[in-house]
Amino acid sequence: MEYINIILMTLIPLFSAPIYDSIERKIKAAIQSRIGPIGFPRSFLQSWFDIIKLFNKELVLTSYGVSLITILELILILITMIILQIALLTSQLYWIISLLITFLSTSTAFSLFRAILLDNPFSSIGAFRGFYITLTVEGFFLSSLIIMLLIDVSIISRILLFCVIAISCYVVGSKVPFDIAEAEPEIASGVYVELSGPLLAIALYSLQIKRYILAQILSYSLLKLINTSNTSVTALMTVLLTPIIWMIFGIVSAIFARTRVDVGPSTLLKVVLILMLLIIATLTVKVV
């Protein structure tokens, strides 16, 4: 039964990530006073249509390494996603959590390696910008996640940890204003500049799965915050909360403008540092 659950939980993100992305686009369109994807199926499936269309486009390869790394990136993301589903269903396994953290960080780093290895100034600049942003939050994100998932702390600490995780999930998901690695106009798609056709489709699909994983982690953290202990209820609630978190992220991104490369990471670091200091303070108080 557990295996069936894991398979089901694994299949859901594979299909639903592009669907959530399509719904987010429709919601953003409404906020921006435009129509967005037209018609019932397209409102829900536009991102799938885009991926299929990109797969049918010509593939222009600048180097074989790019395609290899892009495919590996997707594989790593998928492994991370499967581990997350196992972690949700068997939350007591410490080694699963460790594995999740390892793969989560590796897959994030991998996508940036792909961009930095390319002999393209737009891609390199984008990758470095991605590094600034990722390095700012990654350490705090993973440590907060470990504490949240594995240690029993006070409600105040949990709230603060949840804030760090929420901010990090939003930032690592490359949403406005933190999409400086690919969306700043002068770098012409930045980390995606060398990708075309099927490779671009794979990269975009990886990003959507990654966003699903991050939304799911935040949903799970929310349930941890309110101390839900039943594993199967937690798994079900996580699946239901994930699209809500995704849409909230989408709405937030629609009301922001993009941050400045030098200002964004430093402001972010200040905010996360303050939160982390408060977390340490609350943990110390509890120990004393």
Partner: protein, 548 residues
């Protein structure tokens, strides 16, 4: 216009052994010996004059000479001063670039297109023509037909490409809506130097206007196609120049209609620009809402002219379409709603922290450099220069309207943004005032005569700044028609604005001058005679010939 300044100019011209050709209501035409041009230009500049442009003219049919006309504007006096120097073919003419840096481009253009030999520019690469354009083929000379297609030396295309490449932006780049080439040299995320190569989309409009294919009556429609955003400005400026040269008194009602449409064009252009800025800054909600607010303005233009863009209603001596009472009431209703919606949204727009942070203190153009380069429009007004042709040289019906010229002294991207925001409100107010005062009467003169070899300078305040047209009348069509779009005057300032600024703000800074490359560019399409294919210059050719 004060007679005091005219006397002063007359005195100076005589002192420098020059002569006054003619004096009209708004312009003094002078000819100065070439040896004294620097002194006269310096004196004019120190008297507060801005350089408007310069135009090379092939006058060999008239006087066996090639001439260069420098056009200066004494904004505070509302007076244009046109200074002519001339020389025989291959005779050297002095450059005034060391006195007025902003003159460099138009002198290079005169060298490229008319073949003037201007001292100090000998070693500079071509600005306007491609490097493989044949020597001694000058497109704006009268003996060169408008459909001239030279033989190109294709071997030159394969010359070794430069080894060092900065961060290329253009000629085709997602952020550029028209082909243009910038190369940014960066240290980390900071721009340390900039190279620019433009003039990729030259359509030979001046030459066409002077050719047999066009006449005075049809040129307004050609002029309107210079730009896809502010085309009406160009047709208005052209007809104004011809009307000034020919002394045509345009009916007041037509002048009101022209002013109203010019302001409608300004509103839609500024709203378009604000939307683009929002998009560049990643605030797509702002982009969409700004363009939503702009849409009724486009519909209003269609109501008044029959077209959303490229109105086509300007004719010499008036306009082709009237505004009746029903249209007037509808227009007032639309303007009320646009003002309300814009007010509501712009308050949100300029309170978004990222927008304020990214525009404040970036792309700074100091006032003194703005003055030296004679920049125009919101770029000048954002750097503390109170320049606006509508006030300085009142034309059409602007003298009847009460409006302010927004000026900010910071010189950064935010200052230029705020100038445009304020101008939207001012333009709405101007249209409301003019619609209320719209006089009765005809909308065009019944007949007119255009004498030959009359000169005139016309300037119209476009959304991007002062648009200048210089005309020497000919038989049935202009003998010489020079167009100087506002972006032409503003682009050289970008080098100052981009240098030592964050790379991420570079494009915002480029956009902050609201560049319009189709107005500005003049490079010719290259025809490969071997393959009989046509092409534009490539990215690397552009870089190779970049003007430092």
């Amino acid at each position: 216009m004060s007679s005091g300044i005219i006397k002063e100019i007359e005195k100076k011209v005589l002192e420098l052994e020059g002569l006054i050709e003619s004096i009209t209501k708004t312009t003094i035409f002078t000819e100065i010996p070439k040896k004294n041009i620097k002194d006269f230009a310096k004196w004019l500049y120190e008297s507060g004059a801005f350089l408007k442009t310069c135009a090379g003219v092939d006058e060999r049919i008239i006087s066996s000479k090639l001439a260069l006309y420098y056009i200066f504007g004494l904004d505070e006096k509302g007076l244009d001063v046109v200074v002519k120097i001339s020389g025989f073919e291959r005779e050297a003419l002095p450059s005034i670039v060391d006195v007025i840096p902003g003159v460099e481009w138009c002198e290079l253009e005169a060298r490229d297109l008319v073949g003037l030999y201007i001292l100090g520019h000998e070693d500079k690469p071509r600005l306007v023509l491609p490097q493989d354009w044949p020597e001694d083929a000058y497109p704006l000379r009268k003996d060169v037909p408008h459909n001239y297609r030279p033989q190109i030396n294709v071997e030159k295309f394969s010359e070794e490409l430069p080894r060092e490449v900065g961060l290329p932006i253009g000629p085709y780049h997602p952020i550029l809506h028209e082909p243009e080439y910038f190369e940014l040299y960066v240290e980390g995320e900071r721009v340390v130097d900039v190279y620019y190569r433009g003039f990729h989309v030259h359509r030979g409009i001046e030459k066409l206007g002077e050719s047999q294919r066009f006449t005075y009556k049809t040129i307004p429609f050609l002029a309107e196609r210079i730009c896809g955003i502010c085309g009406f400005v160009h047709s208005s400026c052209y007809v104004l120049a011809v009307e000034k040269a020919a002394g045509i008194n345009v009916p007041e009602r037509a002048e009101f209609i022209r002013s109203i449409l010019l302001e409608i064009e300004r509103i839609h252009s500024h709203l378009l620009w604000l939307g683009v800025v929002a998009h560049i800054l990643g605030y797509d909600a702002g982009f969409m809402h700004m363009w939503r607010i702009r849409e009724p303005v486009m519909v209003l233009a269609e109501l008044l002219t029959g077209s959303r863009k490229t109105y086509g209603i300007n004719i010499i001596g008036g306009v082709r379409r009237d505004i009746d009472e029903v249209k007037k009431l509808k227009a007032l209703k639309v303007l009320r709603s646009v003002r309300e919606e814009f007010k509501r949204f712009i308050d949100v727009f300029i309170s978004i922290p990222e927008i304020v942070k990214r525009t404040t203190g970036t792309g700074i153009l100091p006032r003194d450099i703005a003055r030296a380069l004679s920049v125009v429009g919101p770029t000048a007004r954002g750097s503390g220069l109170k320049r606006d042709v509508r006030k300085d040289y009142p034309y059409f019906a602007y003298k009847y309207a009460s409006f302010k010229i927004p000026v900010y002294t910071e010189g950064d991207n935010l200052a230029r943004l705020l100038v445009r925001v304020d101008e939207v409100f001012e333009s709405i107010s101007i249209i409301e005032q003019l619609l209320d005062m719209l006089p009765k009467g005809p909308i065009a003169v019944e007949s007119y005569e255009i004498p030959r070899l009359k000169k005139a300078v016309a300037a119209v305040e476009a959304p991007r700044g002062e648009d200048v047209h210089f005309i020497i009348t000919g038989l049935d069509r202009p003998y010489r028609w020079k167009v100087r779009a506002p972006t032409y005057q503003n682009i050289p300032a970008l080098r100052v604005m981009l240098k030592d600024a964050p790379l991420a703000d570079a494009f915002l800074t480029i956009v902050s001058i609201d560049p319009c490359f189709s107005c500005t560019d003049r490079v010719l399409m290259v025809c490969d005679v071997k393959s009989n294919s046509k092409r534009f210059m490539s990215l690397f050719e552009g870089r190779k010939y970049a003007v430092k």
